[in-house]
């Protein structure tokens, strides 16, 4: 997570020039205020959606890297501060925990003809969000470096370690691996990926009781620690932005980075042609003899606030529909792994597709997963720095989680 609270310029302002051209989009009245994360795919969507501004309708979009911390507060207000928001597996759960999203079935029946079934996030028979793209962390590798080291493309984390050793032994790179290991949400996500790759379960079945203090948890921690031996010593400060910068500077040969960054490291900007042409993508590696890639599958979609008036909800839905239209996906084919009908698969999206095809787990949509993720992110750093044992780290995570989950009323 980027900590700088960047209240980005309203996309409506940036796109002022384009906003009057297609005024309407069939929105008769009401106002749509969209909140979304800030990356190329959401920028394209916001541009298409805010094109509906004008006439009887008002459509604005706010792109913000910290959007996930704003959604719950924005949807709680009545009338809501934002009528529709970008949500993911994890943030939709936070919104639904407080009952802040409205079912979209009625609006889909009326205006959602082009939505594919797999885009509908259906919970208890009601569509609560419409997904537009898939995302996952997967392997980025440098073909030239791996060839020079005499290593093949690794398909397991054990293979990643072996390749890293060869690269270091040949003197090609001192720190060939990078990871989004910044303490907090990023580090928590890396644990979640690796633990699911080991086939672990976070909770005792059907309850909110934690269940990570086991052999799989220890194996997960040991693998993460082994990987950090080949990372820049500053790894606990590296988020996706930092890893992307390291990659574009040619300092690393392998990383498990977000599919939404694949376009950015091959866009002809910020790096050399040599690095970009040798940047390849593959499924996330498996680990410890497991059969599924050690990563989590994410969808990104839109949900509409329960507190939005009928007119505003309809205006928001139409604006979102225009934002995630097949035309937008076709003209921004490289920006994301679109789930939208008619969008051509992008070449750089193969890492996400292969991870999904390999059977990677979706990020768990459980009400108490947020508290677990937070506890993991906060308590892991001590172990990676060698200050405590794996057992102690796992016990700390469970204790921190139990305190937080008790406070949230889950235990």
């Amino acid at each position: 997570m980027n900590m700088v609270s960047k209240l980005s310029v309203s996309a409506a302002f940036v796109l002022a020039g384009a906003s009057t051209a297609y005024a309407g989009c069939g929105i008769a009245s009401g106002s749509a205020k969209l909140l979304a994360n800030d990356f190329p795919a959401t920028q394209a969507i916001a541009a298409a959606a805010t094109a509906c501004d004008g006439g009887g309708a008002s459509v604005t979009a706010n792109l913000n890297k910290d959007h996930k911390d704003l959604i719950v507060a924005a949807f709680t207000a009545n009338p809501p501060e934002f009528t529709a928001s970008h949500v993911t597996n994890s943030t939709l759960v936070a919104v639904m925990n407080d009952g802040l999203a409205q079912p979209l079935d009625g609006l889909i029946a009326k205006h959602g003809a082009g939505i594919q079934d797999m885009q509908k996030i259906t919970i208890d028979g009601k569509v609560m969000a419409v997904a537009f793209m898939a995302n996952a962390q997967h392997l980025f590798y440098r073909k030239d470096i791996l060839e020079a080291a005499g290593a093949g493309v690794p398909t397991t984390y054990e293979g990643v370690l072996a390749a890293a050793r060869k690269i270091r032994d040949k003197g090609l790179m001192e720190y060939p691996i990078a990871g989004t290991y910044k303490a907090g949400w990023n580090l928590g996500e890396e644990f979640v990926n690796m633990y699911l790759g080991h086939g672990g379960e976070f909770f005792k079945p059907g309850s909110a009781q934690p269940a990570i203090n086991n052999a799989k948890g220890v194996a997960t921690l040991n693998m993460m620690k082994a990987l950090t031996e080949y990372m820049n010593p500053d790894y606990l400060t590296h988020d996706s932005n930092a890893v992307q910068a390291e990659w574009e500077a040619g300092n690393v040969a392998m990383t498990n980075l977000w599919g939404s960054r694949a376009g950015a490291v091959t866009d002809g900007e910020g790096s050399t042609a040599e690095i970009e042409s040798n940047t390849m993508f593959a499924a996330a590696p498996t680990v410890s003899g497991g059969s599924i890639p050690a990563t989590t599958l994410w969808w990104d979609g839109f949900a509409i606030a329960k507190n939005a008036s009928a007119a505003d909800a309809e205006a928001s839905f139409l604006a979102v529909m225009n934002g995630i239209s097949p035309a937008m996906a076709t003209s921004n084919a490289d920006a994301a792994n679109w789930l939208i009908a008619g969008a051509k698969p992008r070449p750089v999206g193969k890492g996400v597709v292969e991870s999904a095809a390999g059977g990677a787990s979706p990020y768990p949509m459980l009400p108490y997963m947020g508290a677990m993720h937070g506890a993991i992110g906060a308590e892991l750093a001590d172990f990676l720095q060698g200050k405590e044992s794996a057992d102690q780290a796992l016990a700390d995570i469970e204790a921190a989680y139990v305190a937080a989950a008790t406070e949230k009323g889950f235990l």
Binding site: M3, K120, T122, G125, T237, W299, H373, G377, F410
Partner: protein
């Protein structure tokens, strides 16, 4: 001043303090004693692009009904204060009973998030505060001696660290101390150690944050002391010179006693500010190695995908306020006694 006049002068600010300081603190104190309602969980089918799965969800309607009856949540008394993520009474009791020695005991205590944060917060406060005062005083003395035409620009540049927004200042320095940044690379060269990184070890991270804190706050002490230096009685200084006092003796016996009330003021402000250290931890991405009480509050509100822990944040806020009061008590008591003697 007659009481009537005093009251007519003071009531607007008293009212504002009531509304904007006292009431919010009371509301935070109340909030800290409540936790969320027990969530009503049900099992449903969840379908999406990656298939269908049976999962637990919160029954928001049932939970909302509970919330309408008791909007604040469940009363938990001091439960949040004493839980593992705060004062951790149970864990301390266990550590007392089981620890094999003082090293093991303190190791266990410092493994608890609140005490880990408190350790850094207090270290930071007690190192930064005196060094800021000393450095600010030395700069003030130096600037006071330079010729008039250089004074303006020198004062401006000395103030820059304080003018720069803390978050921006720490971010800029964070990039500069990166092993490929200008400061980081220079240090690697000077110490002839290509693996030296200020961000990688706890000790060096603490050192970096402390140096940043001194750099950022010294101008404040400097400005206050520089203003004070303009009021040092010249007669006393001159008579000291006639008595043959050296420059050091004049500073020690004339200037420092004269500036003492200002030093008390700077100490109070710095103790308060440093105890609430926050921005540099964010700017330096230092949370793996250094956390503070303010950072814990931030993490409770931002750490886990919208699952905000208002009760926890409120409890840590109250503990921070209590901490500041304890820190300030000796200084305030001393000033009060001195004033009473003078009166």
């Amino acid at each position: 001043m007659p009481h009537r006049t005093f009251i007519s002068f003071i009531w607007p600010s008293a009212l504002a303090m009531m509304l904007f300081i006292a009431l919010p603190i009371v509301s935070v104190a109340v909030q800290s004693m409540f936790i969320a309602h027990e969530q009503v969980i049900e099992t449903v089918e969840n379908c999406g692009p990656f298939g269908c799965k049976t999962v637990e969800v919160v029954n928001a309607e049932a939970t909302a009904r509970l919330r309408t009856d008791e909007p604040l949540g469940r009363f938990n008394g001091a439960g949040t204060y004493t839980n593992r993520n705060h004062l951790a009474f149970k864990e301390i009791g266990l550590a007392l009973a089981e620890a094999t020695g003082p090293v093991d005991f303190f190791g266990r205590i410092l493994n608890l998030p609140f005490y880990k944060a408190l350790a850094f917060t207090l270290t930071y406060t007690f190192i930064v505060t005196p060094l800021v005062i000393i450095l600010g005083f030395v700069i003030a003395l130096a600037v006071n001696r330079i010729p008039g035409m250089f004074k303006g620009p020198t004062i401006f540049f000395s103030l820059l660290p304080m003018i720069v927004t803390p978050l921006i200042g720490s971010l800029v320095l964070f990039w500069m101390i990166d092993s490929k940044g200008i400061i980081g690379a220079t240090l690697q060269f000077l110490f002839d150690n290509p693996d030296l990184s200020l961000k990688a070890s706890t000790t060096l991270t603490w050192l970096t944050l402390i140096v940043y804190g001194i750099w950022h706050s010294a101008p404040f002490a400097f400005v206050v002391f520089y203003a004070g230096l303009q009021t040092v009685p010249q007669d006393t200084l001159e008579s000291a010179m006639i008595d043959g006092a050296s420059r050091w003796q004049r500073v020690r016996h004339v200037v420092i006693p004269h500036l003492m009330p200002l030093a008390v003021f700077v100490t109070l402000i710095q103790l308060m500010d440093n105890f609430r250290v926050f921005e540099p931890i964010i700017g330096f991405n230092a949370q793996a190695n250094a956390t503070s009480l303010s950072w814990i509050i931030y993490n409770d509100l931002r750490g886990s995908d919208g699952a905000m822990l208002f009760g926890s944040a409120a409890a840590t806020s109250m503990l921070t306020i209590i901490g500041v009061c304890i820190l300030l008590a000796p200084v305030v008591l001393r000033t009060w006694r001195a004033n009473r003697r003078a009166a």
